[in-house]
Amino acid sequence: MTEPALETKSLCKNFGALAVAHNIEFSLAAGARHALIGPNGAGKTSFVNLVTGALEPSSGQIFLAGHDVTHLSQAHRVKRGLARTFQINQLFRGLTVLENVTLAISERHGVAGDFLRAAGRRRSIIEEAYALLERLGIGEEALRPVRELAYGRQRLVEIAVALGLDPKVLLLDEPAAGVPSGEAGTIIDVIERLGSEIAVLIIEHDMYLVFRLARRITVLVQGAILVEGPPQDIAADPRVREVYLGERVRR
């Protein structure tokens, strides 16, 4: 078996007495379609922040394709092929859709620090960005400012920016959150069509989406992994049912 695309070893994060991550041993295989689920406050987004480097772990290690990246900055992890999307859109709202993507692509090609040559002269980057938007079906909106787009379309831009980084590991934090159910299908299609060279981890609440996309599921409860396995096992697992049922009753 080849090396996992992403791996964490006894990853811990405490905020005072609160453990948002407790000894997480997680492994994402190359080309995986993996879902991370769990009730509200289980520490799913914290896990993403730990992996990307937005949060510093209290202890434990993080590996990308076998390299220890625990002490690397966010930017360096991105250079090693790690990309993420956000649960709540984090876009350049005043800029056009096309430019949102060109920023990411320029950064990947290492030209974003260039002072001299105008951005508009780098035709190949603009064309690459446009081709990506076409692939996601938002080419028509390339020249509109992001803030003018419907929320569902903005969610696609959110994914497009991450894909502009040509990731090997893609973390999707609730990709369909806030999207009207009629439009969620477009987002699912986009995720389904992603190439097998990308390992995808989806953090999600929507069980329909999880069972449609994931071939493996990890359940996180109170910062610790409760159980991991293929979808049918997870669906049948009594502990998972209890967690989700308990959650509903408490609400």
Binding site: Q74, A75, L95, D114, F115, A119, R121, A129
Partner: protein, 331 residues
């Protein structure tokens, strides 16, 4: 259809950095003013230098989104450097200018390394602190700066050994205009470059810039240093053309004033300083003549109107009007 949009997408980007005729207007006006208002060239040179100062503020505020209330630190650093050299037998203006930029860049880089780790309002406070500390240092170091009396005995030699500074300010005006032109060329290249676009990205959403692998801190320190050098050049210009440097070159008042002028013109549009600074300085000149007692009131009123009705400054207002006009024409 696809091909059409594709080429439109490319055209959109290319159009943005291509020089538009309207961008030549400031230069035509500046050259015209030289001939039309020969009695106002001394004031004109100050306006031009202050535009350069405003441009440096626009780079950090309008593009990188760093709110600063301490940019006079770099302006004053430049002014004192050029002044000190001129008072010690090194009065060649271009030498003074380059030394001033180097010193201001140094202070900008060192202070940037500390304060740009903070965010939002903390940055504002820290820029203010740097400015106050420098002013106080200048106040104490009387042997170098002349303290509260100002720097004495500046002797500025002719520009490039050829052009003497004259009583009417002809040389001063031309010198300031040439330096401003260089500053503008640098700033314009910068904001259209991928580096400049990434600054806009940082302003729009810093969290996402981290997530796409941008070395955010490094970019911010870089632009802060460049901007400081530009502010230092502006300070040197004022020092050399007025042959005077005093503590107010390092004051928070000046930091605030330049901010007001740029906001007045419009932030993040590159030309905000070109509009705001001359309008403000001319208004100040006129108002103080018409109404010597209460002229500040009229300036205040002007600012209130801009803030209430033209949030994007005068240029923002113009852009909004043009957009509305085009929409109507399309219908």
């Amino acid at each position: 259809m696809t091909q059409d949009l594709d080429s439109r997408a490319v055209a959109f980007f290319v159009r943005r950095h291509r020089l538009r005729p309207v961008e030549l207007v400031p230069w035509v006006l500046a050259v015209g003013a030289f001939f039309v208002f020969p009695d106002y060239l001394a004031l004109g040179a100050q306006v031009l230098a202050t535009i350069l100062f405003g441009l440096s503020v626009d780079l950090v505020l309008g593009y990188a989104g760093i709110v600063t209330l301490g940019h006079a630190a770099f302006f004053g650093m430049g002014a004192y450097t050029a002044g000190y050299l001129a008072a010690h037998g090194m009065g060649a203006p271009v030498l003074g200018l380059i030394a001033a930029m180097a010193m201001a860049a140094l202070v900008g880089c060192l202070s940037g390394l500390v304060i740009l780790r903070a965010q939002g309002l903390s940055i504002l406070m820290l820029t203010l602190v740097v400015c106050v500390m420098l002013q106080e240092a200048a106040n104490k170091l009387t042997s170098i700066t002349g303290g509260a009396d100002g720097l004495q005995g500046m002797e500025v030699s002719p520009v490039l050994g050829l052009f003497h500074f004259d009583l009417y300010g002809k040389t001063a005006y031309c010198y300031a205009l040439v330096v401003l032109f260089f500053g503008w060329a640098v700033a314009r290249t910068l904001v259209h470059s991928p580096f400049g676009r990434s600054l806009t990205g940082i302003r729009e959403n810093v969290a996402r810039m981290h997530a796409i692998g941008t070395p955010v801190f490094f970019r911010l320190v870089t632009i802060y240093t460049i901007s400081a050098a530009m502010a230092g050049a502006a300070g040197a210009l004022i020092a050399e053309t007025t042959q005077l440097v005093a503590l107010n070159a390092l004051s928070i008042d000046l930091s605030g004033l330049i901010l007001v002028m740029v906001i007045f013109g419009g932030v993040g549009r590159l030309y905000g300083a070109f509009v705001g600074v001359p309008l403000y300085m001319i208004a100040q000149d006129r108002f103080s003549e018409i109404d010597p007692t209460y002229w500040y009131f009229w300036i205040g009123l002007l600012l209130v109107l801009v803030v209430m009705f033209a949030r994007g400054g005068i240029l923002g207002l113009c852009a909004a009007l043009i957009r509305r006009f085009e929409q109507r024409r399309r219908r």
